[in-house]
């Protein structure tokens, strides 16, 4: 039996209700009996489901609202106050991390989902790491940017065009996938300049029920930049906000995100030396896929 948010409301009613006078204890006991009678485990399940639907809707509503407020008020102000482009980029990324952190906090507080990050010590705060993550849900990037602020990432064209997010992602100077030909070069360039770069090697969200499939681009970036790879495994159970699934499809029980940051590994550890670039790319990709699959199993 799980009393979650409903029990919080019960408590509020109990403490504020008019019959909560002299004999508080008797009233509470009576209330507990009434609650046990009406809120059977079966009904609690439906209430929990309904609550998570409301919570998810609220969460997306605030996501849009905060995006709009930030785009219209905060970022113009940032342009006025911070003249230096580098400082502006750092501030913008911190703002994004804070907003995403607020989103995750809100989701956890409302009981829509829960998450846990392990292995933060493997992250190099000085940067230069290629962070590779699998992409099971819509909010992976929200989750990861909230715990790893100041990393670079690739943003799809549609996001840059989105009026809610346009100002923030352009000020944060994320890489656009607008010019596929330049994409690999700019990824390598950012890594070599000492930034950490977050990539989803799948290129899109995982198709559920299909084996993990990484595009070769991420392996190529790793080989060209000879960067340390920081594998981040995102495991969301039960499935939530997955590909081909609308945001309002709410799982039967509360989804939990287990984010595991594995120790950083160098490319040379994963592929034997002496291979030509094409084979090395392929080998590295295979090694990465099996690394993630072992962790997700």
């Amino acid at each position: 039996m799980e009393y979650t948010t409903v029990s919080v409301w019960c408590r509020i009613i109990v403490t504020w209700a008019p019959w909560n006078c002299p004999d508080n204890e008797q009233a509470l006991a009576q209330f507990a009996r009434i609650r046990r009678y009406y809120l059977t485990p079966r009904r609690m399940k439906y209430l929990d489901l309904a609550w998570r639907f409301v919570g998810t809707s609220l969460l997306w509503f605030f996501f849009g609202l905060i995006g709009l407020i930030v785009s219209v008020f905060v970022f113009p102000l940032l342009y006025l106050l911070v003249r230096d482009a580098d400082a502006r980029q750092i501030t913008a990324r911190n703002l994004i991390a804070a907003a995403f952190g607020a989103f995750m906090w809100g989701g956890c507080r409302m009981g829509v989902f829960s998450f846990r990050v392990t292995g933060m010590e493997h992250r190099d705060p000085d940067g230069g790491q290629l962070i590779l993550a699998n992409h099971p849900t819509l909010i992976d990037v929200v989750l990861l940017l909230s715990v790893l602020p100041q990393v670079d990432c690739v943003i799809k064209e549609a996001v840059i065009r989105n009026p809610f997010m346009r100002a923030s992602v352009t000020t944060a100077n994320y890489i656009s996938n607008f010019e596929p030909a330049d994409l690999l070069a700019s990824c390598v360039e950012r890594l070599e300049s000492g930034a950490s770069l977050l990539l989803f090697p799948e290129g899109t969200r995982t198709s559920s029920g299909r084996p993990l499939e990484f595009k070769l681009g991420a392996a190529e970036v790793a080989i060209r930049a000879q960067a340390q790879i920081l594998p981040v495994v995102v495991d969301c159970r039960p499935q939530f906000l997955a590909k081909h699934e609308p945001w309002y499809s709410i799982p039967r029980s509360r989804p939990h995100f287990a984010v595991t940051i594995l120790p950083a590994i160098s490319v040379s550890k994963l592929v034997p030396g002496g291979l030509d670039e094409r084979h090395a790319r392929y080998e590295l990709n295979e090694a990465l896929v099996s690394l993630f699959e072992a962790e997700l199993a």
Binding site: R11, E25, L28, F31
Partner: protein
């Protein structure tokens, strides 16, 4: 009432009224984590134990109670 009788009556209350699984109940079972009783239910349990034994565990003592053994020792120490 000695502590064995007390234990079996607590067990009875938990099974009949709180719909706790009998197999989950032991002396060291945690009321809040394992038996999934929350603070409002705990007050009800407290009231029923008071009716049963005529002894009143003060809320301050009950705050520190975690397991069924704690409940028994709180009741017998009075």
């Amino acid at each position: 009432m000695d502590s064995d009788e007390l234990y079996s009556s607590i067990k009875g209350i938990l099974i009949d009224q709180f719909e706790v699984d009998e197999s989950a109940i032991s002396l060291d079972a945690n009321l809040y984590d394992e038996l999934e009783i929350d603070s409002i239910d705990a007050v009800d349990l407290l009231v029923q134990l008071k009716e049963l034994t005529g002894k009143k565990i003060s809320p301050d003592v009950f705050k520190d109670v975690r397991t069924i053994r704690d409940v028994l020792s709180a009741l017998t120490s009075l």
